[in-house]
């Protein structure tokens, strides 16, 4: 049986959006979306989803717990355009309008294993005082038409934001054939690089009367 060298690698991400802490605002929900470069293709899982509406906890922790599962698998040939998760948190204001409470984004971790990320959130601000007054009167606060702009490096310099709140995400990352394509992401790989000689098998036998400790 011949082993053909792979041309794609798989990246599987599971985990959950655990909880958030936001001052003010109640009945929060979020939607998440994944975005990735051109070479990336979703094999299975949902790219976009909306969570349930969570209320603030009654105790001193003041937490919004969503415990929302994420599970997605990507296929790619090139690490450029590594997937990012974008979270947009929405809440209701005093009049019952749904308003934006925070945006956050981060890359999926590059190394296999379990990772926890604590993301700070921010909201865009009105550019002028008149717009600030108008948004206060109409109850429509500024928000991004397409939240995927926060995953882009270009065109960010025109936005002004105000930051508050944070959100915690846990990722479990698994990769297939990443090392076989010659990439090194710093993970201790059990599969030897293709073409590398097998590691020498050394067996140490403890002598009698000696303990391992």
């Amino acid at each position: 049986m011949s082993v053909s060298s792979p041309s794609v690698f798989l990246l599987s991400v599971s985990g959950q959006v655990e909880a958030g802490r936001f001052m003010g605002g109640d009945n929060l929900h979020f939607n998440y979306c994944f975005t990735a470069g051109q070479d990336w293709e979703v094999v299975s899982g949902l790219e976009e989803c909306v969570s349930q509406t969570a209320c603030c906890s009654d105790d001193e922790r003041q937490l919004f717990v969503w415990n929302f599962p994420i599970d997605i698998t990507y296929k790619s040939t090139n690490p450029f355009g590594w997937p990012q998760i974008i979270l947009s948190v929405y809440g209701t204001d005093f009049f019952g309008n749904i308003v934006i409470v925070g945006y956050a984004a981060c890359h999926v971790p590059l190394t296999p294993g379990t990772h926890t990320r604590r993301l700070k959130t921010f909201v865009p601000e009105s550019a002028s005082t008149i717009q600030k007054l108008m948004s206060w009167l109409t109850g429509r606060r500024p928000e991004f038409l397409n939240p995927k702009i926060i995953a882009q490096g270009r065109g960010r310099e025109v936005t002004r934001v105000r930051s508050h709140g944070e959100i915690t995400i846990t990722f479990n990352v698994m990769m297939k054939d990443f090392a076989k394509l010659g990439y090194d992401c710093g993970a201790p790989s059990k599969v030897p690089y293709l073409g590398a000689p097998p590691p020498p098998q050394t067996v140490t036998v403890p002598r009698e009367g000696q303990s391992d400790a």
Binding site: H115, V161, S163, D184, G186
Partner: protein, 175 residues
Amino acid sequence: MAEVHVVGQITGASGFPDSSLLCKWLLQLGGGWRLVEGLAEGQTQADRSEVGEEIVWCHPLDIHLSTRGIQGWPRLLLQVYRQDALSRVDVCGYGIIHIPTHPGHHTLHCHTWRPVGTFSEEFRRAFLGGGPQLLSTEFIHSSLERYRLSTIASGTVHLDIGVILREFDKYGIAT
């Protein structure tokens, strides 16, 4: 040709005395390096936070580089600007940081500094803004001309950077 992928984020900053900040960044490469894909410079959003709280920039970096040698390892030049109530922008921190050479995820903290002026210049800066700034970014990355500057500490920029290397072990380079 060995390849390097830099994937990460300029997450934010802390320790600056001003509350509305933005950051310009520039990737600097040595002679044998080539940018294959991605942006090599940019500017973050301007974030306003409570004084003492952390600034959030959440600015993604995704850079694909190829190289013929390991000299001139890429580094990031950071220039932090503050924005006052009248939307005037002036410098409040310079910094430089090397991309880590070890593959994997790294949380980096870049301490920044700014040139300090005479007493009257600092007095003007405190009330009117402005203040001395570098005419050329060469002073940030060149270690030859630095001795002529007198500087004062500014805040810290935080970065989350992941590095993926390709075929470095094939050329016998240990990172």
